[in-house]
């Protein structure tokens, strides 16, 4: 009949088990409706503690000045900007999964997109803290906004990559938030209509915006999602491109390279997927959502990790090649004397090992489908990607053109580290709240793919598989 949606039985089911629409609702709403378990409470407490330590660290920095950090005249960018780029990179996977994979019609995105988008938003929130507090006089942070002011009006420099960053990050945050929330509205409505307690009816009634599920509304919703995906796709690529411009448009050896934009974007996707793996592996275990985040999902993400890890590896080698082939002494020294060797050599080799060598193990299908191995690898990749940013930033600036201003070894203070830990606190506090009060899987989207890609429905395809092509085509042509 005309409604026939055929999907090859060779493709792995996206939803395991015998599920009906109602079962999907039950499974995904259960963690929201149940009382929080001990694990959640412990995790949440630790996150809030970290957040409070971070707030105190930031308080020290704001009150006593940037001198609370060990940055100096030569190493003006250290842990803060490293952390900024690291968090922004992590914030790329969510929109990549929800937007680019939507445009490429990758059905497996439905299982992980909601949590990945949430992660994106929280990661961008964390990232934004670093450049803002790095300004020193944070109360003047609004000077970066172009508004008609009483200082002339003296405007911001629109030709500066740092200002492009302001626009890129704030646009990215806004658009990701809108995309995420517009997807959440129907799912909040599902919880609202199942709510038993008054408080829950009130809360989910407010956040679901009075969603009814009308066909016209769904039609507009689909159009909105598609256009937002189309807009987010170049956006997500532009954001890390612009972050890389912060470095690439300067004339510092090791930064002044045209390879930076694609190299940074690949690195961002790489680290973002690693963070999604870390969170999803825990989430599916704790919330018993293995049927929706299957081994197939994990394998698909591992494939992205090995691909982007290899792209990053090629970028590292290209940089080394160009440093030699380009014939610039300063460029050559930055790479061959101060990066792969010298006092920071260890960080370069940590980066190489974690980002390029170890992900190659994912060429093995057995390891791609191994949950414990994937979890360890996701942490390794994120450590490696942190070191990548550290290597790019610190090992380029610690020895600049004038040997007299070369800096000694840079070691962060406890308040610098505390700020970083604080953003972990912020990130996980938000994630814990999200996982408790919102459905971590897009309920409506799972229902949408259930009848083509659910395990119990895929079995029905076996009958069609047995038909000859001519018979199938004939049947299909006369279906109406």
């Amino acid at each position: 009949m005309s409604l026939l949606k055929y999907e090859s039985t060779l493709r792995e089911p996206l939803v395991d088990g015998e599920k009906t629409y109602h079962q999907v609702t039950e499974d995904i709403c259960r963690p929201v409706e149940e009382k929080a378990n001990t694990g959640w409470k412990i995790g949440f407490t630790i996150s809030v503690a970290l957040l409070l330590f971070g707030i105190y660290s930031v308080y020290r920095e704001v009150t006593y000045g940037i001198g609370q950090w060990n940055l100096n005249k030569t190493i003006g960018w250290g842990w803060d900007i490293t952390n900024f780029v690291w968090w922004v990179g992590i914030g790329h996977a969510g929109t990549l999964i929800s937007a680019i994979l939507l445009l490429f019609r990758q059905g497996w995105r439905t299982g992980v997109n909601r949590a990945a988008e949430a992660m994106t938003i929280f990661a961008v929130m964390c990232a934004g803290q670093f450049p803002i507090f790095h300004m020193g006089r944070v109360w003047d942070a609004f000077f970066v906004l172009p508004y008609a002011n009483t200082r002339g009006p003296l405007w911001v420099n629109f030709a500066s990559p740092l200002l492009w960053d302001v626009f890129a990050i704030s646009t990215y945050f806004t658009v990701s938030l809108l995309f995420w929330y517009s997807g959440l509205i129907p799912d909040f409505a599902t919880i609202r209509d199942r709510a038993k307690t008054k408080a829950r009816k009130l809360w989910y009634g407010v956040v679901s915006f009075g969603w009814t599920g009308s066909t016209k509304h769904w039609q507009r919703h689909e159009s909105l999602s598609l256009v937002l995906a189309g807009l987010s796709t170049p956006l997500v690529l532009s954001v890390h491109t612009i972050v890389s411009f912060d470095f690439a448009t300067s004339v510092v050896p090791g930064w002044h390279t045209t390879i930076f934009p694609p190299y940074f974007v690949a690195g961002a996707i790489f680290s973002g997927f690693a963070m999604v793996q870390t969170l999803m592996l825990v989430t599916r275990k704790v919330m018993k959502l293995d049927d929706y985040i299957t081994l197939g999902h994990i394998e698909a993400m591992n494939k992205v990790i090995v691909l982007t890890g290899s792209i990053v590896g090629i970028a590292y080698l290209t940089e080394l090649f160009m440093a030699w082939y380009g014939g610039s002494k300063f460029e050559y020294d930055a790479f061959y004397k101060y990066r792969i060797a010298g006092p920071y050599g260890w960080s370069y080799w940590t980066m190489m090992t974690c980002n390029v060598i170890s992900p190659q193990l994912f060429w093995s299908k057995k390891l791609r489908r191994n949950v414990a191995f994937t979890f360890i690898m996701s942490i390794v990749v994120n450590i490696g990607m942190w070191f990548e940013r550290f290597v790019i930033i610190v090992t380029s600036v610690y020895r600049d053109y004038i040997p007299s201003s070369w800096s000694v070894y840079y070691r962060p203070t406890i308040w610098e580290v505390g700020f970083y830990l604080g953003t972990f606190g912020l990130f996980f506090t938000c994630y814990f709240l999200f996982s408790k009060f919102a459905p971590v899987i897009a309920i409506a989207e799972i229902k949408h793919v259930l009848k083509t890609s659910g395990e119990s429905f895929k079995e029905k395809m076996d009958v069609i598989e047995k038909e000859s092509v001519d018979h199938f085509a004939h049947e299909h042509a006369h279906a109406h």
Binding site: A189, L202, S214, R220, I242, A444
Partner: protein
């Protein structure tokens, strides 16, 4: 809350049953007020005779508004309002304007579309609407048929039953939406004459 109307409500639990039913109900000349579904059902909008949404066109218009805003503002600021000499570079560095122009295009398009979407669908916090079935956001596809003075309710009910509806009932419901909270029961106001 305004006007109250009478509706025959038929619930379906399978798209394969829903589509032929929609076809038959429409062929019989009844007016389907709406079909409420827990997930997007592709093709249902066409089956109900709805036109394509123009939301993406609105998005395009918002987008070019963003492009224009960015280019006009930056050019005006750099060339006429306060021309700054930045390292002797040109006052109108168009290539350097590309990133911000692009970002504002995306920002205007996204924000504008979401607001338009919320306006068209009348979605906002504290908006309350009549829900014909609480499982319409769970596992039922709820077809709502509007009754007129000529409508024979029993006939419609029988028709829905024979076309595979798992649940059929008649409801009086207010038209549109109102400000309210979901934790409080809503009263059905019958101040105005019911228009059947």
């Amino acid at each position: 809350m305004g006007q109250v109307k009478k509706y025959v409500v038929g619930c379906f639990d399978d798209e394969k049953v829903l589509f032929p039913a929609v076809k038959k109900v429409r062929a019989a000349g009844y007016k389907i007020q709406d079909v409420y579904t827990p997930m997007p059902v592709h093709g249902l909008d066409h089956a109900l005779g709805m036109r394509e949404t123009s939301l993406h066109t609105a998005g395009f218009i918002y987008g070019i508004t963003g492009t224009t805003t960015a280019l006009v503002c930056m050019s005006w600021i750099f060339t006429s309002d306060w021309p700054l000499n930045i390292g002797g570079k040109p006052h109108l560095p168009l290539p350097a304007f590309i990133p911000i122009t692009f970002e504002l295009t995306v920002l205007f398009a996204a924000v504008g579309m979401v607001l338009t979407f919320c306006y068209l669908c009348q979605l906002a916090p504290f908006v309350k609407k009549h829900h014909f079935h609480e499982r319409a956001t769970d596992d039922l596809m709820v077809m709502v048929i509007e009754c007129t003075a000529k409508t024979n309710e029993e006939e419609v009910k029988a028709m829905l039953n024979s076309n595979g509806a798992v649940e059929v009932n008649v409801q009086e419901a207010p038209v549109g939406w109102w400000l309210g909270r979901y934790d409080r029961p809503s009263k059905l106001f019958k101040t105005r004459e019911v228009a059947y």
